[in-house]
Symmetry: C4
Subunit: 191 residues, 4 copies
Amino acid sequence: MGKGRVEAFTDGVVAIIITIMVLELKVPHGEDFSALAPVWPIFLSYVLSFINVGIYWNNLHNMFHTVQRVDGRVLWANLNLLFWLSLMPATTAFMGENHFAPVPVAVYGVDLALCAIGFNILTLALHRLHGNETLFARALGNDLKGKISLVLYLSAIALTFVNHWIGVAIYVLVAMVWLVPDRRFERLIEK
Amino acid sequence: MGKGRVEAFTDGVVAIIITIMVLELKVPHGEDFSALAPVWPIFLSYVLSFINVGIYWNNLHNMFHTVQRVDGRVLWANLNLLFWLSLMPATTAFMGENHFAPVPVAVYGVDLALCAIGFNILTLALHRLHGNETLFARALGNDLKGKISLVLYLSAIALTFVNHWIGVAIYVLVAMVWLVPDRRFERLIEK
Amino acid sequence: MGKGRVEAFTDGVVAIIITIMVLELKVPHGEDFSALAPVWPIFLSYVLSFINVGIYWNNLHNMFHTVQRVDGRVLWANLNLLFWLSLMPATTAFMGENHFAPVPVAVYGVDLALCAIGFNILTLALHRLHGNETLFARALGNDLKGKISLVLYLSAIALTFVNHWIGVAIYVLVAMVWLVPDRRFERLIEK
Amino acid sequence: MGKGRVEAFTDGVVAIIITIMVLELKVPHGEDFSALAPVWPIFLSYVLSFINVGIYWNNLHNMFHTVQRVDGRVLWANLNLLFWLSLMPATTAFMGENHFAPVPVAVYGVDLALCAIGFNILTLALHRLHGNETLFARALGNDLKGKISLVLYLSAIALTFVNHWIGVAIYVLVAMVWLVPDRRFERLIEK
C-alpha cells in the first residue's frame, strides 16, 4: 500500500489541529490593554502547543520520508497518534484557562505522554513492516530521545503536584530539545 | 474523469470532520479532578466517533484504490456520504452531552445507518461505472459485512428504547468488527 | 503559472467551508425528541447550503480541468469567489436560526448572487487568459445557465418580501437545476 | 529535503486560517435589517484580513515556486510565520467586535508587523540555503516592498493612539499595494 495518501491525510489532520487551537483563544471583551491580561496564560499555552504540534509534524515528515510502505497496522497506529494530538486544543485550553493550575497541567502532560507513546507505537509498527536493515530502522536507532522524553513527561506529571511550574518547565525543556529538527533522519536522507 | 481530485477532496473533508469533532469537547470549567467528571461521556462518544470516521477513511482509502475513474453520479454519491459523515460531530456531541440518553443514542444510530446506506449507494455508483469483471467488483463481492452492519444499526436504534446501553454496545461491536481493516481490498491490491 | 496549487488550495478552502457549516448546527439541549424540533430549520438550511457548496466544488472541479494556466488576475478572481462562499456558514445559520424569516432569506440570496457573480468574474478572467478557441471557451459557451441563475437569485431576493417561501423555493429550484453536473465541460473532456 | 510537503502543509494551514476566520462572524440575533448593524465592523475587519491572508498565500505561492529545497531552519521559519498568521482570526475579531477601538487596532497591527517580520525571516532562511546567484535571490532583490510595509505597520501602530482611523487607513493602504501580485517572482518564472 502506498504511503502517499497516509502522508497527505496525516499532514491534513495536523494542519487542522495546529490551526483550530487558535479558536480556543477566545476574543477578549473590552477595548483597552487590561482586556488582554486574562488572555496571556491562554496565549502562552497556545505557543507551547503550537511548538509541540509543529515538532510532531516535523518528525512525522522526516520519518515518513524514510518509509517505503504502510499496512493496516500502521494506518491505525497513525490514527491513534492523531487521536491524542487532536486532544491538544482541548487540553491546551484547559491548562491556559485555569492559569496553569496543577490538575490541568497534569492533564496536559498526560496528553503529551500519550502522544509520545503513540509516536513510539507508530515507529514499532513501521519497524515491524520494514525490518532491521532498512533506512528507516537505521535512522530511528534505539530512539533514546523519544524514551527520555516520555520519562520526562511522566516526571513532570508527578512533580506538578509539588509545584505546577516544575511541570510546565519540563514541558518547555522537552520542547526545546526537540525544536532542533531530528537530524537522525535528515542525515540519512542526505547520504 | 480522474479520481485524484475526488480522493483528495474526500480525504480533506474526512480529515476536517475527524478533527473538528474535538471542538465539541468543551473545555471543563474548574481546575481540579472533579471538573473532568462531566467530560467523560462526551470523551467516550468522541472516541467512538473518531474510530467510526477512521474506519470510513480507511475503507474509502482502500476502495478508491481499486477504482479507475469517477463520473457525476459517483461525485454526488460521495458528497451524500460526506454529508452524513459531516453530521457526526453534532450527533456525537448530542449523545455525549446527554450522557447516552435513549433519544440521542437513537439519533446517533440513525446517522450511522445513513452513513452505511450512503457508503452502499457509493459502491453501487462505482459498480455501475466499472462493471462486474473489474478489480473493484471482485474486491467488493456481495458486501455482506456492510449489509450486516446496517441491520445491526437498525436493531440498535430500536433496542435503545428498551435499554440505551444495548444500542451503545451494538455501535461498539460494529466498530470493533470494522477496526480490522477491510482485507478484501488489500488482498486484491497485493495480487 | 501552474494551475495545480490553485486547484489544491481551492479544494481545501471549499472542503473546509462545507465541513465547518456543521459547527453552526448547535447541539440541541434536552434529551427527548422535542429537543430536536428547533434544530429542523437549521438542518434544512444546512442541507441546502451543503448542496450549493457541493455544486460549486463540482463546477470548479470541471472548469479547472479544461484550463491550462492561471495568472494573478485569476488568483484574485478565485479568492473573490472563495470569499463569498466562505460567508455561506454565517448566512446559512442566520437563515436557519431565524426560521426562514424574510430578511435572513434575502441576505442568504444576496450571498448566493454574489457567489454567482464571483463565478462569472472567474470565468471571464480565465477566458481572457485562454482566448476564444480553447477547450475552456468552447466548454463554457455563453454560460446561459449561470446568467439565468443570477436573474433567479435576484428575483428571489425581491419576492422574499412578498412571501419568504417564494425565495426559498427559488433557491431550491436553482440548486435542483445545477445538481445535474455541468455536462458542457464533461462532454468536451470526453472528446 | 523536498519542498513539496512543506508547500502542501503551508497551503493547508493558510486555507484553514482564511476559512475559520468566518467562524468569528457570529450569527446576528434577530430577523430584521437592524440585526445586521452590529455585524458591519466585524464584517469589514474580516474583509481586510481575508485580503491580507490572501496576499500571504499569493506571495508564499510565488516564492516557493522559485525555491529548490528546504531545510530544518526553513521549516521552523515557515512555522513561525504560520503562527503569527494563525493569530489573525483572533486579532481580527478583537478589532471588529470593539468597533476599531485604538488598542484592538494596535494589537491587529502588531500581528501584521510580526507576520511581515516572519515573512522576512523566512526569506532570509531561504536565501541562506540558496545563495546569491539563484533564481530565488534575484527574484527577491533587496525586498524594499517588504521593508516599507513593516515601517508602515509600525507607524500605524503608533498613529492609532492619535486617531485609530489613521491606523486602519494605513493597513488598507498596505493591503492595496500588495494586492497587485508580486511581479518580481512572476517575471522571473516567465523567463
